[in-house]
């Protein structure tokens, strides 16, 4: 999903930067607020950032014969809501743009919009929808984490199609072409990432129950049933 340095026309690069900036600024304020009001959140906040840091560094093979990397933005969006991930995701992208020549400064806005804004919001939306229709925590987490991954790559495809419409088939043709490169490869990765998200939440529900209850992810255990809760 990293659009390489200099690969978006200047107007598009500027437009996506302007589009992403308010989300990132709002996200920075959300992180500061969370840490200030709930210092005990810092550990889980670190876990959410670390999850996206490690997953976005690992390129994995896919059935299409090409490789790609997961995004890891879903768990943080479920735990802390998407604005927090707008900042954490952008920090990851900045690290990769500056040190790894992966992505770039001119394309940081577009990449942040896909990776740190659309991905987390799509994942969070899937999570809320799944919970509303009665899904348990873990199926909802799977949907959130997998969709945050997939939505990021779909967004990148849209961004590229807008910048490089096909000479004959236009925007739709270009979109299909870029989706063909990104989205199909990404499907097994999104499933794998969703399973990892489920694993993470299985560990958290046991070990971080007070935090998950405070964040509204888990219902507090009713006192009356505490004795036999199992």
């Amino acid at each position: 999903m990293h659009i390489a340095e200099g690969f978006l026309p200047a107007g598009h690069a500027a437009g996506w930067t302007i589009a992403a900036a308010p989300f990132v600024v709002h996200g920075a304020r959300a992180v500061v607020k969370e840490v200030r009001e709930n210092p005990e959140s810092t550990l889980l906040l670190g876990a959410a950032g670390a999850f996206t840091f490690v997953l976005s560094a690992i390129k994995l093979p896919s059935v299409t014969g090409s490789s790609s990397h997961p995004t890891g933005t879903g768990p943080g969006a479920v735990l802390f809501r998407p604005p927090v991930m707008a900042l954490l995701g952008t920090v990851v992208l900045l690290f990769q743009a500056l040190l790894l020549a992966h992505g770039g400064l001119t394309t940081l806005g577009a990449n942040a919009f896909a990776f740190a804004v659309v991905g987390p919001w799509a994942g969070y939306g899937a999570y809320r929808l799944a919970r509303v229709v009665g899904a348990g925590l873990l199926p909802a987490v799977f949907a959130a984490v997998a969709l945050a991954d997939l939505a990021t790559y779909v967004t990148t495809s849209v961004q590229l199609a807008l910048a490089f419409p096909d000479a004959e088939s236009g925007l739709a043709g270009a979109l299909l072409k870029f989706l063909g490169v990104f989205a199909v490869t990404q499907i097994p990765l999104a499933i794998g990432e969703g399973l990892l998200g489920v694993l993470l939440f299985r560990v958290l529900t046991v070990n971080a129950r007070p935090e998950l209850e405070r964040l509204g992810v888990l219902e507090p255990v009713p006192l009356a049933t505490t004795g036999g809760a199992a």
Binding site: E5, V54, V63, V181, V206
Partner: protein, 102 residues
């Protein structure tokens, strides 16, 4: 092994299988190039020239080292947090009702 541990182990196995299978099924015919690079190669073939270059481009081996550093930092922090949370629970088993089984 508890049922909980078994399910976790199966989840790990499923993830591993998901990424080993493409390699096995492929039989060495693909080079598993990155999708990001595939797109830039395609755009350049169509005549697009990037108008800005990365300020710093690490050489091949350095780049893989920096990617490893990124993964190590993330994995390290994640392990630290999960270890602390687990230590907190096992240190105070009586104060956390309903924990331990899920």
């Amino acid at each position: 092994m508890t049922r909980r541990g078994l399910v976790n182990a199966l989840l790990v196995l499923a993830v591993v299988a998901l990424f080993v299978l493409p390699l096995l099924l492929d039989g060495g015919t693909s080079d598993f190039g990155g999708t990001d690079a595939a797109v830039t190669a395609e755009l350049e073939a169509d005549g697009y020239t990037p108008w800005f270059d990365s300020l710093f481009s690490p050489a091949g081996e350095i780049e893989s080292g920096l990617f490893a550093l990124q993964a190590a930092l993330g994995g390290g922090v994640l392990g630290y947090v999960l270890g602390r949370l687990r230590g907190r629970r096992t240190a105070a088993p009586a104060t956390a009702p309903g924990v331990g089984e899920q």
